[in-house]
């Protein structure tokens, strides 16, 4: 007879800090991050991998945290929206979303920004088609997407400008 399920201790790097937490075998990564670690920037939209509101980055790749078991995070490098702002300053992608007016109700925004980060980490200068294609797993019911695409576009340009400024200073 199988033993009754018991909590699992997992350890992973969360936004640059090693994190240990006990989870139940059936907990989703989303539930562990939100409910056990209090990272409420990770949103549950559909819960079945259709909307992308729960997007996080695991080992450099964007994933729907609702489609992952928490136990799968063990040993991984995990990035969430909470890790983006540094010293009280918004990340360039966050800034670009504000500047482009890419936020209305805001519920999809953390997932959108994490998808955008996964894209820009991989391809710093994506074309418009590439942005649309890459972001197509994230649904927004307010903005009509144009401002979001523009925000990612701006973030791509802004990164370059920041780098230039840093080089020049």
């Amino acid at each position: 007879m199988p033993q009754s399920p018991s909590p699992i201790k997992i350890s992973f790097e969360l936004n640059g800090i090693t994190q240990e937490v006990e989870v139940m075998p059936w907990d989703t990564a989303l539930a562990a991050l939100r409910e056990r670690l209090g990272l409420t920037g990770v949103k549950e939209g559909c819960g079945i991998g259709e909307c992308g509101a729960c997007t996080i980055i695991v080992n450099g790749r964007a994933v729907d945290s609702c489609l992952m078991l928490a136990a799968q995070l063990d040993g991984c490098i995990v990035e969430t929206i909470e890790g983006l702002a540094k010293d009280g300053r918004a990340h360039p992608i966050q800034k670009a979303f504000l500047d482009a007016g890419a936020v209305q109700c805001g519920y999809c925004t953390p997932g959108m920004i994490m998808s955008a980060k996964a894209l820009l980490d991989k391809h710093p200068k994506p074309g418009r088609e590439e942005i649309i294609r890459f972001m197509s797993g994230n649904l927004c019911r307010c903005t009509g997407y144009q401002q979001i695409i523009e925000a990612v576009d701006r973030a791509a340009g802004r990164d370059a400008k920041l780098e230039d400024a840093e080089d020049g200073s």
Partner: protein, 297 residues
């Protein structure tokens, strides 16, 4: 109510096989999780153990081996899209992988999972069928290789037994000068599952005649439909619009014979014919004609 189970992550393929030998009937194999997680959310998975094979390096191989292209069952769609050997030797597999779900889904969903789940909408299956794929299946002490066509019995129904683990796929490479195509009809481009999908490959000889042709249509018939009657009809012919239209009619009649006339047939017959005409015109570089151009997405 969410499904309740214990989580098991084997450190090696050997460990996974041993686990299944002892606990097959109580265990669900978890690869990418993109189909299992929604089912677990609804409490539809009743098992004592979930065996997470997503980290097994043995299942992530990609390469040429004795004139066969080997793709591990744990290879994700993103791995496929980014792999040069697959892009060269099996561009239709790469094209099918690009159509799957979203970036988030492609990053975790696996080829083995797509076949094991046997969704009628599976994007990879028609592409694998065009490559005459065989499937390596391992269970305690036994390794067998079976044609993919024998694995898929119907929607969500395979000939796999509890304890069977899909480990690899062996494909006939179809590099250039083979030309390949993969197309699908979905309700929208991103995320939507395939309503009908099609993979095909052709080799044209120096005289301009078809010397090899393979076509498989998914989501229309209970089992993926390799259009052998059309394949036979086209070999030796020089591609033109008339034979493409004939091929589309023959394939759609053949599929209706297999699936029976259903409420969806009225939609699916012309849709499938249109998809075949559009795909084969692209494949053979034949001008499509005005009627079909109007139907372009």
């Amino acid at each position: 109510m969410r499904s309740v189970f214990q989580y098991v992550r084997p450190a090696s393929l050997e460990e996974a096989i041993q686990w299944l030998a002892a606990n097959a009937s109580e265990t669900v194999v978890f690869a990418g999780g993109t189909d299992l997680m929604p089912a677990m959310r609804k409490g539809e998975i009743s098992c004592s153990y979930v065996l997470d094979i997503s980290r097994l390096d043995e299942l992530k191989v990609i390469g040429l081996e004795n004139d066969r292209l080997v793709i591990g069952a744990g290879v994700t769609y993103t791995d496929i899209v980014e792999n040069d050997v697959i892009r060269e030797q099996a561009p239709t597999i790469a094209a099918a992988a690009r159509c799957v779900g979203s970036e988030q889904i492609r990053n975790v969903g696996t080829l083995g999972g797509n076949v094991g789940n046997a969704s009628p909408a599976a994007d990879s299956i028609p592409a694998l069928m065009v490559h005459n794929a065989t499937v390596e299946i391992v269970r305690t002490g036994v390794i067998q290789t079976r044609p993919l066509a024998e694995i898929i019995l119907g929607p969500y129904h395979t000939s796999l037994m509890p304890g069977d683990l899909i480990t690899k796929f062996y494909l006939e490479p179809l590099p250039a000068p083979y030309r390949t195509v993969y197309q699908r009809i979905g309700r929208r481009r991103a995320m939507a599952i395939s309503r009908i999908n099609l993979a095909a490959a052709v080799l044209i000889d120096s005289q301009g005649a078809i010397s090899d042709f393979r076509m498989c249509i998914g989501s229309m018939t209970p089992q993926p439909y390799r259009a052998s009657s059309v394949e036979t009809m086209l070999v030796g012919k020089t591609p033109n619009r008339t034979i493409i239209v004939d091929a589309a009619r023959l394939a759609s009649q053949d599929m209706i014979k297999r699936s029976g006339v259903r409420s969806s047939t009225e939609y699916k017959k012309p849709a499938a014919e249109g998809l075949i005409i559009r795909s084969l015109c692209e494949l053979f570089a034949v001008d499509m004609g005005e009627d079909e151009k109007q139907c372009e997405p």
